[in-house]
Symmetry: C2
Subunit: 340 residues, 2 copies
């Protein structure tokens, strides 16, 4: 592997670069350290001079000097496609970046599934990452289970389904779902179906449980459920299956806004008016909830707060100032709009 060790490191000094560029050594140093406090002219002349003279910084030395800055990785246990289609990730990563930026720490994001899981696990063992935020962990082989034995500070976003004690931040998915369905009941709906998220995720399992709690409370015998995979297309198909099986349904609680947007498209195509014929409630309160017509009544989860709590907790763990197990559960809030 190429590095300063194997590369021919020229004898060129910073002073020579500064002289060649016609700037002070301090300015040359600021440029080569990516400081933004330099003029474009100085920047260009220093970079050109450095490249003409074949100047190379000594990474090893720099490495030691900056080793104290922790490297934080967000490992998204989901396919790359989900990362860009489910707004949860953009919101969470953006907020985590913002929080880390206050401490001048960059966030390294990687999304993993299948065989790459083993690779990422090995990478995290390489001692080049000091703290990990695991997002969207799921399935029979959750990342958090085995990574917990790394002795690396880890915060999991979303309740882990396995029993190993880890540090996590979650939203009150079960309570939020129950409140959503109770709202449908309070507004006179009785034939209430549920479009569920994958039950091998804490969010999917808990939102389904919340739906069942509320239906059980009114002694509802019929609780029609169709499962989606978080995508809008799966919301369309799940809604179609429910309409085929239960044409008389008068409300649907959907486990995510994106799937709810799909359900809405399906209902519009089927000529079922929302909310008059079918009331619809989503979950997340992403921007699209307010953009679709009719605007979605949904359950807001504090994703930005999630990120801030997870980051602060992880940084405290990297300093040995926080326990490496135990969860924080943030409240959710029902947001009333036009769809229910």
């Amino acid at each position: 592997m190429t590095g300063p060790e194997t590369r021919p490191v020229t004898g060129t000094t910073l002073a020579e670069v500064a002289r060649e560029a016609g700037v002070s050594i301090a300015t040359a140093s600021r440029v080569l350290n990516n400081s933004t406090k330099v003029s474009a002219e100085a920047y260009r002349s220093v970079c050109d001079a450095a490249s003409r003279l074949g100047y190379r910084r000594h990474r090893a030395a720099w490495g030691k000097a900056h080793r104290k800055m922790p490297a934080i990785a967000a490992v998204i246990h989901a396919g790359h496609h989900m990362l860009f289609t489910e707004p949860f990730f953009a919101r969470f990563i953006g907020a985590a970046e913002l929080e880390l930026a206050q401490f001048y720490i960059p966030l390294l994001v990687t999304s993993v599934t299948g065989p790459l899981i083993e690779t990422v696990g090995r990478y995290l063992q390489g001692g080049r990452i000091d703290g990990v935020i695991i997002v969207s962990d799921h399935g029979p082989l959750p990342l958090s289970g085995s990574l917990a034995t790394l002795g690396l500070p880890i915060v999991v976003v979303g309740r882990p389904l396995h029993t190993s004690p880890v540090s996590y931040v979650d939203a009150d998915n079960r309570g939020g779902a129950r409140t959503a369905v109770e709202h449908l009941i309070a507004t006179g709906r009785r034939a209430i179906a549920h479009i569920a998220a994958p039950p091998d995720t804490g969010a999917g399992a808990d939102r389904l449980a919340g739906y069942r709690d509320a239906m059980r409370a009114i002694g509802a015998a019929d609780t029609p459920i169709a499962y989606g995979d978080w995508t809008q297309a799966s919301g369309v198909h799940a809604m179609q299956r429910l309409l085929d099986q239960r044409p008389a349904l008068d409300a649907v609680f959907v486990a995510s806004d994106v799937m709810a947007a799909g359900a809405l498209r399906c209902l519009n195509r089927a000529g079922r008016r929302v909310p008059d014929s079918v009331a619809l409630v989503g979950f997340d309160d992403h921007a699209l909830a307010a953009q679709v017509r009719p605007a979605l009544t949904t359950v807001r989860q504090p994703i930005e707060e999630f990120a801030a709590v997870a980051v602060r907790r992880l940084l405290a763990m990297t300093r040995g100032e926080a326990d490496d197990r135990g969860g924080t559960v943030l409240p959710t809030q029902l947001i009333l709009r036009a769809s229910a």
Copy 2:
């Protein structure tokens, strides 16, 4: 900073974990190395046993063992928001991940702007990253200029605007833009405007130059230009400015599909039919180009091929098998649809 060195490492052995879990040592090892070749039951019992016994892997040792696996980072010189709104990034990152996955190397993605640039520069000097792909580099202080002096293998996606010699992969933006405008001319349009991307990016500057080439070739005296910032909203506003200044325009070449989608919304609102009243051509051939109505005629740039070329070149550089300067320019292709 917490790490295996400062954490109390228990004396628990892998054999004890395996015994506690009631599985073979080989199975316990596979689980703790995140192999997916284990049953969910074995996975759970080993993780639980490891956590009960407080088993900790010795990261340092692992580190050495796996140090040979290069760590590749994609540094996006853009705000986090762009990362999730301009489809270029999702397509590029997805393709780069796919290419790296063949070598079992994860891709670490970070987006940087403003003060974080200095931080990321420092991080890259820390010796924890072995190769960097710089995407969407721009502005008076491009990342590629100063990072080139790190002695770290770097491939820049998009022609760098500064003069320092670096290794880059680019599309034929100028040729593609010229072809797009020549198509408008060949179909009888003459009052052709351009919605340009930021000229401090290679793509923005080259697509603008291609537009000017084609207009100069027909001796067009009037070349109305409005600048956008890659966002759809900026496309709406740029189109509105052009309509106010040149109500007689009969065609617009837009430097990106996302901005073109905004221009299309503006033209629809203004009651200008596309393509009858105004012909519209975009650039990129993202999925949305085929989804908007009328579907966009656009210039396809081979983003997936980009990613493959950049990754292969970078990996060769980390092995010292490729030169660290010189560019590869990939051809573009005019895709004819309904809008022009």
